[in-house]
Amino acid sequence: MKANPRDVLTGVHYIDGDVAAGYGVLAAGCKFVAGYPITPSTEAAETFARVAPKGNAMFIQMEDELASISAVIGASFAGVKSMTITSGPGYTLMMEAIGFGAMLETPFVLLNIQRGGPSTGVPTKTGQADMMQSRWGSHGDYEIIAISPDSPQELFDYTIKAFNLAEMYRCPVMIMSDECVGHMTEKVVIPPAEEIELEPRRLYNGPPGEYLPFKPDGDFIPKMVKAGAGYNLYISGHVHDERGYPVTNEEFKSVYLRRLVDKIRRNKDKIIELKEENTDDAEVIVVSYGISSRVAVRGIEKAREKGIKIGNLRLVTVWPFPDEKIIDLAKTTKAFVVPEINYGQIAFEVERCCHGRANVVLVPHSGAGVHNPDDIYDAIVFAAKEKKKIEGIVEYKTKLEKLVFEGGFKLKE
């Protein structure tokens, strides 16, 4: 299915990431956005509010984030593509409903422009510390898809991809961007509508009497219908069987729940998108995502100039995590360097998949800023020189840490 030309602002724009995401939402054919103001994601919502009437779409600012996400799930069941836009604290409030959305196999998209945390933290500056939360933040077992774009152009492109994935796998899809990308102004090329491929909803067309809302197709994913179309739906947030009726029998519990995780785990290869560069014969590989992958480029180039065989693995899809890829690379490389704007989240995943074969060097950052590329370079040099296997993550001591904690530093307001 192609995008509707009415929804696509074809042309070359010079806009920031939030605005690009707003345009992407419209182009993806999304008809319902519910949001609540939160720095630094508000511009995306504002953009959509401005363009929504153009696409005959609805933007509503709800009373809080709990309301936004529940309305989004409701709208999705009414048959339209829907999404919400938020940042750290709002994201946390949405946790209960995200699990609920996963349980109901609701296609919807969530844009999280990450900021410095925890709690209120630094609202106006960047962070990448919600990555594990996006995977594990709600109670119970479920799987989601998370994408981490690194430029305004990608925020546009991957917003559309996120909707496609959501419709294809019937699960919440998170766009885990960050303040830097959100507020970065760059050239964004929006292609004509006929070049934008959209995934239509997987609708059931058979007679109402035979419809089973949670009976999976061959690829684990059931078909949907629109609410109010006479299918007499019974949709329950409890553990349910194919009819949607609550299951209380312990034996069946895992049968029906397992599909929620299996539909992602078994389709992993189709979902995961990576960007790889010189990883085949690299002695050190930088694993990064989002804004950190752009900062890393400088450190990588510098290392390459110094003659270090350096590879670059960029996780466009962060969840599901590319276990197999890391396992393979760990067999040939000496070490992974993981720069991220937190104190170790995805680095743990890399460590897990290394199985002790390669060292893992974490270049942490507190948030409220991006890495100093020299830190990444230094970490690469350290990793390239280190001959022995080190158990556990090596946390690289950054210049920022040294500045703040070593010797007579005074905080400036």
Partner: protein, 273 residues
């Protein structure tokens, strides 16, 4: 004739006892009314006969959410919308304390609306100061539940389509025992209201209408802070005891002020015992 001798004087801010002078200058924009509300509150704290050591102030998030940071009391800057819930914990755990919640309309009525109505229903003994500037200012001018119909904001670029909430009516219907409304122009009356409410046992609400020149006024072309003060001067009316259902505020409409509710109900801690 005796020549005037210059006496060396130490410059002391008149409200140094209740303000954190080491945090001044504050973050609020020129022409903003929150500072005036804080001044009135600081004056009330000085005039009211209460032990300032036993007063805690809690704020949520937003421009008004920063108030707790400037007042020299035990002060808490909490999560968005949760100021009243946090304050409920303080009050119930230690009923000897006086608890004040100082926050904005979006924080208290939108995301924190549930805590607002429930604390009022339980009649938790606290003073809630709600500075109403008709907009989310900290995040850059989004529509608030108080934004008048058809007024502009960034998330309603074609004008607000939601009727605003009438805060005194909501407080009244949820069970508050003291409800008043003033603008930041009416500092003396506002101060007196604060003093009265601090003395009141039960859930008290004082709504303070405040200009937001940076966002609300700019987006809606209403001039600067002074213009808004002139507007308040010309378009307000004091009607004590007015039925709270008549207190809606339209876009640049008349603002009715006064003390609307002053009644007695057993508070939560009294009920619990």
């Amino acid at each position: 004739m005796e020549t005037l001798k210059t006496k060396k004087m130490k410059e002391v801010h008149p409200m140094e006892d209740v303000l954190r002078m080491n945090r001044i200058p504050h973050i609020w924009c020129p022409g903003c009314g929150i500072g005036l509300a804080v001044t009135a509150f600081a004056a009330a704290l000085e005039k009211a006969k209460i032990d300032l050591n036993k007063v805690a102030i809690v704020s949520g998030i937003g421009c008004t959410g920063r108030v707790a940071g400037y007042i020299k009391l035990d002060s808490f800057h909490t999560t968005h919308g949760r100021a009243i819930a946090f304050a409920t914990g303080i009050k119930v755990a230690n009923p000897d304390l006086k608890v004040v919640v100082f926050s904005g309309d979006g924080d208290l009525i939108s995301i924190g609306g549930n805590h607002f109505i429930h604390a009022a229903r339980r009649n938790i003994d606290m003073l809630v100061v709600c500075v109403n500037n008709f907009i989310y200012a900290m995040t850059g001018g989004q529509v608030a539940p108080t934004t008048p119909l058809a007024a502009y904001a960034t998330t309603c670029p074609f004008g607000s389509v939601e009727p605003p909430i009438n805060i005194p009516y909501l407080a009244d219907s949820s069970g508050a025992v003291y409800v008043a409304r003033w603008t930041t122009l009416h500092i003396r009356r506002l101060t007196n209201s604060f003093i009265e409410a601090l003395d009141k046992k039960g859930f008290s609400v004082v709504e303070v209408i405040s200009p937001c020149p940076q966002y609300y006024s700019r987006i809606n072309r209403l001039g600067d802070g002074l213009d808004m003060m002139k507007f308040y001067h010309d378009n307000t009316e004091i009607r004590h005891g007015e039925d709270t259902k008549n207190l809606d505020i339209g876009f640049q409409g008349k603002i009715i002020m006064g003390k609307f509710i002053d009644r007695e109900r057993p508070s939560y801690t009294e009920r619990f015992d």
